[in-house]
Symmetry: C2
């Protein structure tokens, strides 16, 4: 007979995790990922300790070599600045059922795993729409509070929620690669607009210069920064309409991450963007947008949860059956549930 153990109390777990106990940190992250009241109480406890880390989102289409770049950024940092600890959050939005962890990524990051100054966490989709964005932001907060000075969030830049995840970072690196197909190229149109640093990886491939040129052209054509900021409900409220005139122009850097080429330059650009944000009004504006995204995500989850708690599964199931049978349209059904 196994002993049934009570789960650790959150305050004690938070204490241990923030004092450097890595297994406690893992458990705390799992509890935070699960969401709900427990996660809220943990986040309220750690919140005063957050706000110290440099948070960098790394995103790009499949096949650009994001994971390798992230791994190299971590390795280079650890080699040249051993005092800086690195947290990596690898978001895998497309394995909601397997529990995450893309095998290839794991292999690429293997040589980081022996380093106690690096903490890697894979995340898969949790709950439904919005759940992953909420969980990722929260896990980043835990790592921030636990003292990781550089936090790298890796997401495949394909869906809206992944774009939102990237936007919760201070600096967004968009990774491109020469010679991807039509449709892959199209994907970047959306994420290009959130790029602070553009990296053309796999720069030993044919077509690298035309990729770089295309990116320069797209940047010259003028991103519309305010439209980016006016995406969600709350971000519309958070961001003023006038864009700063001395806006940051995303540098375009070439790397061959698999050969550790060009990594220092990317880290330099990250540092420069960080300095820019602290000197310019855009830094504050971005903090507001980030707060707005966070708040909106939390509100969405909380509102639905409250409604479901109030109505109860029996009535919900009845309503779902009515909609399925076309006895009522879903809008009128929603209105009934809401009133």
């Amino acid at each position: 007979m196994a002993n049934s153990r009570l789960p650790e109390a959150i305050p004690a777990l938070v204490d241990r995790a923030l004092q450097g106990d890595r297994r406690a940190l893992s458990r705390l992250i799992s509890r935070v990922e699960n969401g709900g009241v427990e996660a809220w109480s943990a986040l309220a406890l750690i919140y005063p300790r957050t706000g110290q880390a440099q948070i960098v989102g790394v995103t790009g289409a499949p096949g650009t070599g994001k994971s390798t770049l992230v791994s190299e950024l971590a390795k280079h940092t650890r080699r040249h600045h051993p005092e800086i600890t690195v947290g990596i959050v690898a978001v895998d939005p497309t394995s909601p059922f397997s529990g995450g962890a893309v095998l290839g990524d794991r292999i690429r990051m293997r040589d980081l795993s022996g380093d106690a100054g690096v903490f890697i966490r894979s995340m898969a989709t949790r709950g439904s729409l919005g759940g992953l964005a909420r969980a990722t932001t929260d896990v980043v907060k835990v790592l921030d509070a636990a003292g990781f000075q550089l936090i790298l969030i890796e997401t495949v830049g394909a869906g809206q929620s992944e774009i939102d995840i990237a936007r919760t970072a201070d600096t967004v690196i968009v990774v491109e690669a020469p010679g991807l197909g039509d449709e892959v190229q199209a994907i970047k149109a959306g994420i290009l607009e959130i790029a602070d640093v553009l990296v053309v990886n796999k720069a030993d491939r044919d077509g690298v210069q035309s990729t770089v040129n295309a990116l320069h052209t797209m940047i010259d054509l003028g991103k519309a920064p305010t439209s980016v900021l006016h995406h969600g409900h709350l971000t519309t409220i958070a961001a003023p309409l006038d864009a700063p005139t001395d806006r940051w122009r995303p540098p375009i850097l070439k790397t061959i991450a698999s050969e550790s080429t060009g990594i220092a330059e990317v880290l330099d650009a990250m540092a420069q963007h960080c300095a820019y944000l602290s000197d310019h009004p855009e830094g504050q504006q971005r903090a507001k947008v980030r707060a707005a995204i966070e708040l909106e995500t939390i509100l969405r989850e909380a509102l639905l949860q409250r409604l479901l708690d109030r109505i109860g599964p029996a009535e919900l199931n009845r309503t779902i059956e009515q909609v399925a049978a076309r006895a009522i349209d879903p809008y009128s059904a929603a209105q009934q549930l809401l009133s």
Copy 2:
């Protein structure tokens, strides 16, 4: 001086659109896309006319040739069954700013555009998380009510919201292709579980048989149908835990869409799946899951909108600023707004 014209009244616009006026249909779709009260009233009007179309989601990783396949499915249907009209909804979740329409897709679908029996609509991300799923489902309803018998929804199968979009279809076709990279392969792990028909496109490429074999293995390993259904909040309520034992096994078909090869077989599989759904309890279960997804999406949007209307932008902005300045944590801020 331009005359300022009032927007058309929704009931009149619905009438014209459902009577076959294509320009009215386009305008109605735009109004429905925009959401809000107007969309709700339009959808309530058209709802009794929906439920007639065969709705097929076509999804897959970038580079698999989804658009070409969709275009070929439409062409083949129109050539052999000219009485069947086809609606295509191309969802482009990664161009929230450009207003949609991937150039490559448009070119590939060009030869459909002269056919009055085909209606193509591109959709880009609208609003924030969940907005696109809501809008797509609603546009499909409009096309259904307007009498399109076959509706093809094309989404890149990369993010959770795109998976949710695919799941609103009766039949989900997941498109694969041989020789895509590591990371692209990984993407399919998630979407494979929602496949009713598997298509290995670009079957003239090297490695097609190993792709087919890998898919057979993955299917034999056993999909976990119930876990798929237990993804969202409401779907957990909607779907019973016991999976039917005589479950549909997704056929694996080879196509070369760019040469119109294998298209008839895909259409056959679609028809067989349609017949299966109407004969088996899974069809009803799926209708319930679809209703649950729809209801959840509508509730999420409506709940947030109601809250925002109640609070007003001034207070929201104040709260966002407090969170941004770390004067309050976002969870406590959300709790304040909710109470």
